[in-house]
């Protein structure tokens, strides 16, 4: 959680650039998606720590409460959902790709927008699932948010989908039909996004309605 005095607000799905500077002036920058709905000057980032990363270990282990941090943004005007949206929305997340989609889910709830939202969340196992408790609570409200977990390595007992990768079957059973003309947001590692976007197009979704955000192994979120 960051307190950013003067933060001008953001749109759900946008990211910020974070810059760290060493004492000798060396600096490193990375982009991180904003997890929070637009609200005042508070900003929540969710950072996945990569053991061999240059920036994420600092943010997750070294940076202490109250220490200053430089950031810049909001950045990005494409992979965004505005809370006055009226079309149904299909969200497909791989791993930490859930973060910008979570901002959209939160923005929808904050605006009391009841437009149908479906989330397909592909994640290694239950322990790796982000925002698990919050997503349960948000579904319980019964305002049109549906969440389907797709576990790629270990599924808990009673999981509706078998362990596996994203597939045409999963998209057909857990997504929204192309006939509903949903807006589609896909975020995750490059391979996941490539596969998912291809499956969505093959299923009949309008390529122009599919927005993607990708990060490679080192492609932006380390």
């Amino acid at each position: 959680m960051l307190e950013v005095p003067g933060w001008p607000g953001h749109r759900a799905g946008q990211h910020v650039d974070v810059r760290l500077t060493a004492e000798d002036g060396y600096s490193a920058q990375r982009s991180y998606s904003i997890a929070s709905a637009p609200q005042g000057t508070a900003l929540e980032l969710t950072v996945q720590r990569l053991d061999d990363g240059e920036v994420s270990p600092y943010l997750t282990q070294t940076l202490g409460v109250g220490q200053p941090l430089e950031l810049r943004g909001p950045v990005g005007g494409w992979f965004v959902w505005d809370a006055d949206g009226t079309a149904p929305v299909l969200l497909v997340a791989g791993g930490s790709g859930l973060v910008p989609l979570m901002a959209m889910i939160r923005a929808r709830a904050q605006a009391a927008n009841r437009v149908p939202f479906r989330l397909i969340y592909s994640v290694r196992d239950p322990a790796a699932a982000l925002y698990a408790t919050e997503l349960i609570e948000r579904q319980r409200v019964g305002d049109g948010l549906g969440v389907t977990y797709l576990y790629t390595r270990t599924a808990p007992a009673g999981s509706p989908l078998p362990v596996g990768r994203i597939s045409a079957d999963v998209i057909a059973s857990s997504g929204l039909p192309p006939a509903d003309s949903p807006r589609v947001f896909v975020c995750g590692p490059t391979g996941f996004v490539e596969t998912t976007a291809g499956l969505l197009v093959a299923a009949g979704h309008d390529p122009g309605a599919i927005k993607t955000e990708r990060f490679g192994p080192s492609g932006g979120q380390s």
Partner: protein, 239 residues
């Protein structure tokens, strides 16, 4: 220099003099696209160049491959902050595509299969600075990296190197392309770190007016003195 982050030392690299400010090295080849990857069959592929007077020249795949091509080894710099050094491509120089064309245009707009666009000064496409590339590292260019053919303009951020390029339109007027309309810098020089609308240092001199106009519309930078609560955030400007 920005605010020092206590306890941060970072990881300097041997090749750091080849890295523009704010970039870090990668050895893989990340993919960044705004939507699904278009699958373009080379049998139906065409590349079309239009001048500002409406003169059109067009190549199908066979005619394009019959043009003289060059092998180039260049460094790539993506606005998402990764850089990849020494990448090897084969492509047709834009000079070759424009050879004999009558144009006095100052600007170009690249159009891609899938609807992507990006704008550049024509001066940045000519004189051996840009190619339509169809091979990467000795192999046909993969669709996710822009195949069958993509623009390659290595001296600008990589979003200017339009994947799946199908046309280049020359014009007297500069219009923003896809990312240029969505907060990204109109010119995109990595060495001047021209990432976003607020980054005003230099740029192509001719673009001064449009940059000023855009500054009022869009993303800007803020400097904050710090604050309270959990972790303070401050903003940097790009001055």
């Amino acid at each position: 220099m920005g605010i020092v982050s206590p306890g941060f030392s970072g990881r300097r690299r041997a090749d750091s003099d080849k890295l523009p400010p704010g970039q870090y090295l990668v050895t893989d080849f990340p993919v960044l696209s705004a939507g699904p990857t278009p699958r373009v069959d080379s049998a139906s592929w065409r590349l079309t160049v239009r001048t500002e007077t409406g003169q059109v020249r067009s190549w199908d795949w066979a005619a394009f491959l019959a043009l003289p091509s060059e092998e180039v080894t260049v460094d790539l710099h993506c606005v998402t902050k990764w850089s990849k050094l020494g990448t090897r491509w084969r492509g047709v120089s834009i000079d070759t595509l424009l050879d004999g064309a009558e144009t006095a245009a100052d600007y170009a707009m690249a159009h891609s299969y899938g609807g992507y666009t990006t704008n550049l000064p024509l001066a940045d496409l000519v004189d051996g600075q840009a190619w339509v590339a169809f091979e990467y590292d000795g192999d046909p260019l993969e669709p996710e990296h822009g195949g069958p053919a993509r623009l390659l303009v290595p001296h600008l951020y990589l979003w200017k190197s339009a994947k799946w390029v199908q046309g280049i339109d020359l014009s007297d007027d500069d219009e923003p392309g896809f990312w240029e309309s969505l907060g990204y810098h109109n010119y995109g020089d990595p060495w001047r770190e021209q990432r976003y609308w607020g980054d005003l240092r230099g740029g192509s001199p001719r673009l001064g007016r449009s940059r000023r106009r855009r500054r009022q519309r869009g993303l800007s930078c803020w400097r904050f003195p710090g604050g309270r609560a959990t972790a303070q955030a401050s903003m940097w400007t790009s001055g």
